[in-house]
């Protein structure tokens, strides 16, 4: 009896071994479902990776770094963290730039009207940037919205980068998709129940998002942004009320969240553009409260420092 079983098993083994090896496409990861049946994208997805917004022009349409280029970028990131101010080290990836469309990895040109609009700000100085208080710090108007602890806006809040506090958390509930960013304490609570956008006159810094599922991908369309504010981290262009951003969140592996954001504002850029990030899952990364304004001593220090400098120069 034992012999029969053994022979049978051997036979099955031979048949299996002789079966033609079918070419299988790589298996697409299927995320688990929430108890109410939506794909589960929840978790902590910090953008603690080093990918610049735009690609060097001489790279053309090559979107992947060589090993040597990646090492150079990684080393530069370590160097910045060692010698810079408040900067954390994040590893480089092979992705050459966040911008993936246009194919050269660079933002499309601004419209002539946008250029004119920018030049008209602050007596020709242009929209305030992070470093603009070094040139002029007359009032809070010389600080960008991040420096004023207001917002990084969209897509500024989603940018990974070589700075600090890049935590992102996704939380879901029936009919709700929540994206929380550590930097500047942003939380977007996005309805996914099909309700329409708010009226066009109700505008906010982070806009009005509406989500829906396309297969396992959460698609968030955001409109109703405040106009004439700069998009933090993106050229500091003053945007118009035509700004519309479509984001796609897709868990392509248990520990990877694929993110695309397509930005269109025909009043600012000649054509839409898209950025891409693969956020790694890090359950150990906890978001720390960013109660920015309460502790923004830097604002008073900078304004007072500028007045002291004026007095010193007046005495000379």
């Amino acid at each position: 009896m034992k012999r029969i079983i053994l022979l049978s098993l051997l036979a099955v083994g031979i048949v299996s071994a002789q079966a033609p090896a079918a070419k299988q496409a790589p298996k697409q990861y299927v995320p688990a479902k929430t108890p109410w049946g939506d794909p589960d994208l929840q978790g902590n997805w910090p953008g603690s990776i080093n990918i610049p917004l735009q690609r060097p022009e001489n790279m053309g349409e090559r979107s992947v770094l060589t090993e040597a280029e990646k090492k150079t970028r990684d080393t530069a990131g370590k160097q910045r963290a060692t010698t810079g101010t408040w900067i954390e080290y994040y590893p480089a990836t092979e992705q050459a730039s966040l911008v993936v469309d246009p194919k050269n990895g660079r933002l499309p040109p601004m419209t002539p009207e946008a250029e004119r609009r920018n030049k008209a700000v602050r007596g020709g100085l242009g929209p305030p940037t992070l470093s603009s208080p070094e040139q002029r710090a007359e009032s809070v108007d010389d600080f960008d919205l991040w420096g004023r602890c207001i917002t990084k806006g969209l897509v500024g809040s989603m940018l990974p980068g070589n700075l600090y506090n890049k935590g992102n958390r996704i939380i879901q509930a029936p009919g709700i998709f929540v994206i929380q960013n550590e930097m500047v304490h942003e939380t977007r609570i996005i309805p996914t129940d099909g309700r329409p956008h708010r009226g066009k006159d109700i505008r906010t810094y982070m806009g009005d998002g509406r989500g829906h599922w396309e297969g396992n991908t959460m698609v968030v369309e955001t409109t109703n942004f405040v106009k004439d504010i700069a998009m933090n981290g993106i050229n500091f262009a003053l945007l118009t009320d035509q700004l519309r951003i479509v984001e796609r969140f897709n868990r392509t592996a248990q520990d990877k969240l694929s993110y695309d954001a397509t930005v269109e504002d025909p009043g600012t850029w000649a054509r839409p553009w898209t950025m891409h990030v693969d956020y790694p899952l890090d359950p150990t990364y906890d978001l720390f409260e960013y109660a920015c304004h309460e502790a923004n001593y830097g604002m008073a220090d900078i304004l007072k420092g500028a007045r002291m400098e004026e007095q010193r120069k007046a005495k000379q």
């Binding site: 408040w86 208080p133 935590g167 920015c292 830097g298």
Partner: protein
Amino acid sequence: MKAIAIVAGLLGTVPAWAHHSFAAEFDRNKVVNITGTIIKMEWVNPHAWIHVAAKNPDGTTTEWMIEANTPNGLLRRGFTKKSLEEGTEVIIRGYQAKSGDNKANGSSMTFKDGKKLFLGSSSGDEEPEKQAK
């Protein structure tokens, strides 16, 4: 011995990328070395602040506020709540505020036992990764 030594000198470029501009708030040419004891630490974003009582030669004390890295950044570099208990003796190296106030951006902190912690910016000290261990 002077408790506070202000050393003027040209330092290397300090990149100004953070929540706000380093160069607008601090004078990179005005290095301060502050010896004193911890009064308290504010574990707050966008940057933590450490309050230090520096002893003056005449026996009085001067309170300094030291701007440090973000709470999360400090935790990852070896700081804990117990690192800075009230009364701990420290030597802090940093850059004084342009306002002339007793505020500084901290680069490193040295404890009595020689252990160092990186506070957020560089003044030519050794690598922060090494200091945190």
